[in-house]
Symmetry: C2
Subunit: 487 residues, 2 copies
């Protein structure tokens, strides 16, 4: 078996004798990755569950593809080209290259091609899972994040595109957002295609840099886009980004296109452009039929990925969000998508036009954690039953059983530690109560309950004697102590 | 930026012009990976949620570390050495090697070392997530799977080990297993360590092959273990596995140790062995105090990973499970764990002894799908509102709103397709009902409901006329049709 992987091997880890005192390791994560804890994960679990339930209600099935795919199967549709391997994590596996998925759409296309005859058409599925991008990490930019995708494969009717927007909007309502908190922005790649054809911008690379320039409008403003469509732009740090090198009249026409507010008022430039307008009208009519108003036509919506062929959409939040430096920012999109009619055809000549929407779960959760109207559950730690003497463990067990049977998060402290240290522990766990039973309590079948809920740090202020006199402490019988517990 | 990654680059994917007709790709997954759908995912979501809730009830916090870690941070503790990179997926990242985690324990140790001062002690956390093993794939052996880990870091009291076993047992009860369906098997690495020291087996590699030999008992039987402890063993396919090359008296003593049923009856061989026995007694006493009987001492429990230092445990299912060839098998363990007191010390000299248990979620789900007493929810597809004419879309919308408001999974078929094809679609979706409204129904404010629940394939048997006369079809007013829907 080939022991050579790539040009050099991973660091030579001969068997690590863990008992021995080796050189100490640095407990850091590679850049672009992070650990997540409690509140964020609780909220995420809840949001994911609400989204799943609503997607099922809307007639979608669940799918999970694996994290690795053959590299050529997922292809290269990422806009970011400034990293080795074009933004993908790839590994040589025997004689083939395999890659971690960079989105959930390319694997879906592979799945549909593989199972085409077995699947209903349209195939309506959702999938939630991590994706990986081997990009240059930056502030708030991660190399691993969770996407929640919903797609409809096998029908070219753009009413399905419209329906997806309704599902997304309804889902955002169901997780607690009001209509004024977000808006669905709609565009059509066919308008852009028609415009570029009309301007004789036909070179693939020039098309790419033109789209990329427009896509940066949020960050660089309309003047910045103008520069990026022309010779290029120098940013604040002095870094220069090469432009698309379009001519003045080309740039002017693109800039004026980006300013359109009503697609009905644009004069169609050619056939593909007309087709784009027609599709937008069908979508608008569908919205009207369903009394859906929370959308806007926006010619500046581009969507980075390379595979879109028709209507494209984005969901933008409108409430205020602060970045990690506590500065209010234009938060922008929490997801988007569009029609990609040719992706499955990379595998077989099948009739599998498709449309989809992808929610950026981590971004959504980041914003929701700052959303005032959402009741974020505070983490409440376990009730800690302090351990004054090993001999009372049986007594503590009785108390624990009563708490757990009442579905109250609780535990016995099992370490050999002073009461003070046990209270420090309860502080750190944000325990609502501690239960203290020594000789007296056990003898009298009693329980001493200390309420910590409005106390910042009990362990510092209080010693064993203070406990007994404190007002926030109560002694009651083991039969009735549950009544004193209010979570 | 270094464009060379490893010795050769991923397949040269120049920009794929997706519109063009390239050579078609093969829509397959790399070996060792798989797609999962509906029933399995629904059950998994439910089981994961039950486990989470019970771990929280027992006083554990949730953590999520990233999928990538620095390669030296997670180290090399895997038993399987027959693959390049010793079983780990690794990638060169700028100047460092990073790897996909192969378990959730090594990342936990890194997390604890990094955040030691902020964490309560003991730190009680759970984490659920994928892990990756770059192993030789085989039948039922995957290179990506989900583990659900629960750990207690920061206390050396083995009562915490005992408590973990109680939590696991209670959790298996809560997901629906009865006590006779599983058993917790207990052993202690200190017994093995004491035994090997007593037998003067001190060479690291020989210790490893000895433990590996014992670990294979399930698969090769006691005779097989004897051979693997000696010169080696040839399997049915003729493949030869080299043995640990122990002497006859060493092998005999190990084999007789493996036969012990009661640790109280073993004469301690040395200090470390005695310590192991003492710990098992503490665990047994704790179990008795909590009236927990569903365990057994089993000296053949080894646990593959290299980092265990004390008590080790495994949860085994006892009900019958069939493999993919429909043959009943000894299903074996659905998880295990043990004490690993030195893992955090690889980073810093901290007081962080630890114990943990890991549930193999995919294996558990595989078995549960065959467990008779568990009510597996059948996937029920959406109610499909057939689309007889675009003009009636507003009418269909009214029906849809009523269904969705009643929380009934439903959709309008939006494709331009014959009724027969729409019914074929409903068949494939396992829809419980279809709703058919044409000119008559719309005019009279009525709804025609066809019950598909006990019908195998409606679309084949029925044409438009048959529908009208069928007994499983009902016409009712749009105000009252919900009453006829029984999911």
């Amino acid at each position: 078996m080939d022991q050579e992987v790539g040009g050099s091997n991973p660091p030579n880890c001969t068997k690590i004798q863990i008992m021995s005192e080796n050189k100490k390791l640095n407990p850091e994560l590679p850049s672009g990755f992070k650990d997540r804890i409690n509140e964020e994960l609780l909220l995420r679990d809840e949001i994911i569950s609400l989204i799943k339930n609503n997607f099922i209600l809307n007639g979608f099935d669940q799918l999970e593809t694996s994290s690795f795919e053959y590299s050529d199967v997922i292809g290269k549709f990422l806009p970011d080209q400034d990293r080795p391997q074009s933004g993908v994590f790839s590994i040589k596996d025997e004689n083939d290259w395999i890659s971690l998925r960079y989105d959930l759409t390319a694997p879906l296309a592979r799945y549909v091609a593989k199972n085409y005859d077995l699947l209903p058409r349209p195939f309506k599925r959702f999938q939630v899972g991590q994706v990986w991008r081997n990009e240059k990490p930056g502030p708030g930019r991660f190399r691993e994040f969770i996407q929640f995708d919903i797609d409809i494969v096998g029908d070219s009717n753009v009413q399905y595109d419209a329906d997806l927007c309704l599902v997304i909007s309804d889902t955002l309502n169901k997780i607690g957002l009001k209509n004024q908190d977000f808006k669905i922005r709609i565009n059509n790649r066919k308008l852009l295609q028609g415009l570029l054809e009309d301007l004789k911008i036909l070179d693939y690379k020039q098309i790419q840099s033109t789209l990329r320039a427009i896509d940066k409008l949020d960050r660089v403003g309309i003047k910045g886009v103008e520069l990026l469509l022309g010779n290029g732009r120098k940013d604040k740090s002095g870094d220069f980004t090469k432009g698309a090198e379009l001519k003045k009249n080309q740039i002017d026409k693109i800039i004026s296109f980006l300013d359109f507010k009503d697609f009905n008022k644009i004069t169609p430039l050619n056939e593909i452009f007309s087709e784009g307008i027609k599709e937008l009208i069908i979508i608008k009519n569908y919205f009207e039929l369903f009394n859906f108003k929370n959308f806007v036509f926006d010619p500046t919506v581009i969507r980075g990925l390379d595979y879109y062929t028709g209507p494209i959409f984005e969901a933008n939040l409108s409430f205020k969000v602060k970045n990690e430096k506590d500065v209010e920012i234009e938060f922008g999109s929490i997801g988007g998508g569009g029609r990609y009619d040719k992706l499955v055809n990379r595998f077989k000549n099948l009739n599998a036009p498709a449309t989809g929407f992808s929610i950026g779960v981590d971004r959504l959760i980041y914003a929701l954690l700052q959303y005032d109207d959402l009741k974020i559950k505070n983490i409440i730690g376990p009730i800690v039953i302090c351990n004054l003497d090993e001999a009372y463990l049986g007594y503590y067990r009785q108390i624990l059983s009563k708490l757990r049977d009442a579905n109250i998060c609780s535990e016995i402290y099992l370490g050999k530690n002073s009461l003070k240290n046990q209270l420090k522990y309860a502080d750190k766990r944000k325990s609502p109560y501690v239960i203290i039973c020594g000789e007296d309590e056990v003898k009298n079948n009693e329980v001493t309950i200390k309420n910590l809920k409005d106390t910042d740090k009990v362990s510092d202020a209080i010693n064993r004697e203070d406990w007994k006199s404190s007002s926030k402490q109560k002694k009651c019988s083991i039969e009735n102590f549950l009544k004193e517990i209010k979570i």
